[in-house]
């Protein structure tokens, strides 16, 4: 039996989250198949074929999969499930939306946000906003897992998998896509960025947040935010990092005007180097930052921008 990875893609290109989920799947020790459900998704399928460690790319190209609606995609996975010992997805918005539906239809418990695979049935995952790491053993039978993208390295390119096309499965027709408002910026993806520049309520105004964005652009960095900054309207929802936002694992994380609440720290524990700039020297973020600067952002931001050059 093999493991099936639900791919994350935009039809023309594969998201790095998929390559990371493939690495997780490889730890299960079975052949790895990648499922591309999409519409006009040949480009993404071609990229998946090149991922090292992938044996087969299964392509379901049909308009009903254009927006990854949970109900038809879950039915598709269900129609394939008998051939697989495990089903995995990156713990992205799509994975978190679709996989529990699959698990329930298979009548198995899902293991969410897996950060380590110890054996084919023993997994580590965080709970309580990352305050604890649980090791759980899944019962016999199929495993359904979402994996924390930032906890696994991407599978490199250079493979040559087989590609097979499959017909679509039944569409229950329960929901319909209307439209979307992308929060896009042309910046790197948060979950795989090498540098993340994140702002909190300490930035005080949206104008200051633009200042932070200019610094991010100089560094080729992704922009992140605390919940408070998102609630204040400084940044889009998609920028929220933490327990209930996204997890990141950059080489460098700059936390500007962020206090360091446990719900925020839950999302940055895999960052290699953490820098904090905050005017309050008692701020909890300094307890975990590798480099801390006690300073007022109104002074520090312009200095930082200048110091980073053009």
């Amino acid at each position: 039996m093999a493991s099936l990875v639900l791919a994350e893609h935009n039809n023309s290109t594969l998201s790095e989250a998929t390559a990371r989920a493939v690495t997780a799947a490889r730890h299960l020790g079975e052949p790895v198949h990648v499922l591309i459900a999409g519409s006009g998704c040949g480009g993404a399928a071609d990229e998946a074929v090149l991922l090292q460690g992938v044996d087969t790319v299964v392509v379901a190209d049909d308009p009903r999969y254009a927006h990854m609606l949970a109900e038809p995609v879950a039915m598709l996975i269900l129609s394939l499930a008998s051939g697989y010992a495990s089903v995995l997805a990156p713990a992205t918005a799509n994975g978190k939306n679709i996989l529990p539906r699959v698990a329930a239809l298979l009548d198995v418990p899902q293991i969410s946000d897996v950060t380590r695979i110890l054996s084919p049935d023993h997994f580590e995952r965080p709970a309580y906003a990352g305050s604890v790491i649980e090791t759980v053993a899944a019962p016999d039978g199929k495993k359904v897992l979402t994996v924390r993208v930032s906890a696994f390295a991407p599978a490199p390119s250079g493979g040559a998998a087989l590609m097979v096309s499959i017909p679509p499965a039944a569409d229950p027709g329960l929901s319909e896509f209307l439209d979307e408002t992308p929060a896009l910026s042309g910046r790197p993806e948060l979950s795989s960025a090498k540098i993340v520049v994140a702002g909190g309520r300490g930035l005080h105004t949206a104008e200051n947040f633009h200042h932070l964005e200019r610094i991010a652009d100089k560094l080729g960095a992704a922009v992140g935010a605390s919940r408070a900054a998102v609630d204040a309207g400084f940044a889009a929802n998609a920028c929220q990092i933490g327990q209930t936002g996204q997890s990141v694992a950059p080489d460098l994380y700059l936390a500007l005007g962020i206090s360091g609440a446990i719900q925020h720290l839950a999302g940055i524990k895999d960052a290699k180097v953490i820098v904090a700039i905050n005017k309050d020297e008692e701020a909890p973020i300094f307890g975990i930052a590798d480099y801390g600067l006690v300073a007022d952002l109104f002074q520090a931001l312009p200095e930082l921008e200048l110091a980073l050059g053009k």
Partner: protein, 248 residues
Amino acid sequence: MKVLVPVKRAVDYNVKVRIKADQSGIDLANVKMSMNPFDEIAVEEAVRLKEKGKAEEVLVVSIGPKEAAETLRTALAMGADRALLILTGEAVEPLAVAKLLKGVCLEEQPGLVIAGKQAIDKDAGQAGQMLAALMGWAQGTFAHALDVEGDAAIVEREVDGGLQRLQLRLPAVITTDLRLNEPRYASLPNMMKARKKLVAEKTPADYGVDVRPRLKTISVKEPPRRAGGIKVGSVAELIDKLHEARVL
């Protein structure tokens, strides 16, 4: 239309949890418990639907120990009409929760279920989707805005790249994200009134659901702790250090 809202009694988000000495779980003795914050948002949204005349009744359901009746009373004080407690012992896994809620849905025939997107203790984020699957209903997860019109719900969802709008056929399950609304406080007078209201009780056996855990917790431990580093005196010094550390 009847709206069903499941609410969980969870460790309060301000509490720093302690691991039991034998690493078997979390020490819950004398720990402050509250309604899961995402469920508060769900209750608020249901009550608002009622205030807008789009829902007739809000039924809140909790699955947990006797003390979960307090959580239900908080929801009643926020404006829910009726409360049901399904009495269980220790932690019930999301799939069993979904099966119990399915039993309630079959009995009560709600037009909409509004659930939190995750509980902040286990951080699993599964129950709503699982319930939708078991009922064969549509799901609108991570809701940022919700509107109900006739037999459809329009839900705006928080997704990784921005916001997405879907139309769902009712009945459906919605799960709430942080920015759907700001929950009201349950005022003291309303809490007093809620104390007098009946909380109906059932057991998993009433629904024929086996709630014994299927996942085995082997251990619970602390994550490796990050040591704090050094303080620098200026932006220039910071930049030097980052060059030294080869991250710039």
